[in-house]
Amino acid sequence: MTTNPTIAEATDEIGAMLEALPDWEERFGAIMAMGRELGPYPEERRTDDFIIKGCQSRVWLYPELVGGRIHFHADSDALIVKGLVAVVIRIMQDRTPQEILAAPKDISERLGLAQHLSQNRSSGLASMLKQIRLYAVALSMRTSS
């Protein structure tokens, strides 16, 4: 029986995949490709309530609690940022709030994106990770009560 990778393992796996690519153009190409694979975003949730603040582009992130696990839907009007949110979701998808809250704090470093993006608030990677933690805190209260 195979177990699902942990958040740390999933992060390192994507980090290694990106690292293996020859340059940043290819890395961003791969990130954009992940964005294109995101499922459709529920139109009724395309509201300011679900916009992540602190991004130069608009990012919507909507969490749904399904059987005690958080299922995220996301979209963006920019391709690279949509790819970044897809990367984050691939790591965090369908996990319990407790798993998300116990996740390593250095995800952008492990992805190898810290130097390139995370210091740049316009990319919003840090804001996305923070928002996911906030949702996990809020939803953990619902699952524990």
Binding site: D23, W24, E25, R27, F28, G29, M32, Q56, S57, D77, A78, L79, I80, V81, S122, S123
Partner: protein, 416 residues
Amino acid sequence: MSAPELSAPSLDVALLREEFPILSRMVHGDRPLVYLDNAATTQKPEVVIESIVSFYRHHNANAHRAGHVLGTEVTSMYEEARGTVAESLGAESDEIIFTRGTTESLNLLAWSIGQHLAARLANGNIVLTEMEHHANIVPWQMLRERSGVELRVIPVMDDGGLDMGRASQLIDASTLIVSCVHVSNTLGTTNNVQALCAMARSVGAISIIDAAQSVASMSIDVRAIGCDALVFSGHKVYGPMGIGVAYVRRDLLAVLPPYQGGGSMITNVTFDRTTYADGPLRFEAGTPNIEGAVGLATALRWRNRLDLSRVLSHKSSLTERLVEGLRLRSSVRVHGTKQGHSGIVSFSVNGVHPQDLGIMLDSHGIAVRTGHHCTMPLTQRFGVNGTVRVSAAVYTSHDEIDRFFHAYDRVITLLQ
């Protein structure tokens, strides 16, 4: 007091580039840096870097306080820097206030002029333009909150120029202040500030010019412009960050109340009553950015040795190459048509988010700015969330513009 020796720069761009150590940097491994974000900040020539290092290595002390040798040297260096700034603007030393930058200069003016005109604000108006940087909008909105003064906005036309007809209607007998940008940081438009200052003068209003984008390559003469105040930042004119200037005409400066209280801006302090210093020191509370002032003066002397007419013709040809190259490419909209010699060009590409283009260009070592450029009302007026802005400096080469287009053509196919 050894000021570092200034070499005589010419407009041999290749030679000029050698004076800027950072321009030979590689980024992302082996990509030569192509720095096209000069409207955000310019790079610094060796002589400016050296003047700052030399200040701390040989002179460091506080200004206007100590009578010892270092204190005396530093006071002269600081005041000589003020003199260099004054000369570069056609002003007098006692009309030059050192600040942190354009933003602080505008906040200082909004506060002090606001206090000075307090009794008239409720029935008066302040005229701005639609192309102002947030630094020339928000301080006036803060003044409006305190006083109820009306803010009026001169519209920008499709070509990126100001509607001067509207300007002459908006500026009227109850106008107290006209505050306007010289060269737009987003569109590159050069405004007819002489005309706006003349309109302000005709109704007895105070005129303020934001020269942040013009000082680096244009010859500025405050008397010829006819302004009451003019502000800029050191870091956009090849100087250091954290230092800026507010020129204020002597008789206006004399009646303005101080902006911040503290050391050095006083003549006498008792717990009952404090009297303030005359002249610019009244507006320079606390220890100033002395090495910044020294670095700025070095940068201005460096700039003053350039033949500014050759700088402008170089920047005109770079601007033309950019605009023409962009017009040749499909789905590109260049915002405005009045970039002139500013070196600043903003554009949008249909269906492509500016942020994506900025990140992909960066992966090729091309540094441009994307977003609203701190001019949100202006980008909204052009119906976009943001633009891609390419901005050249005196050291920008035609080869760099070609590299920009080479990278653009490559990455745009991935984004469209």
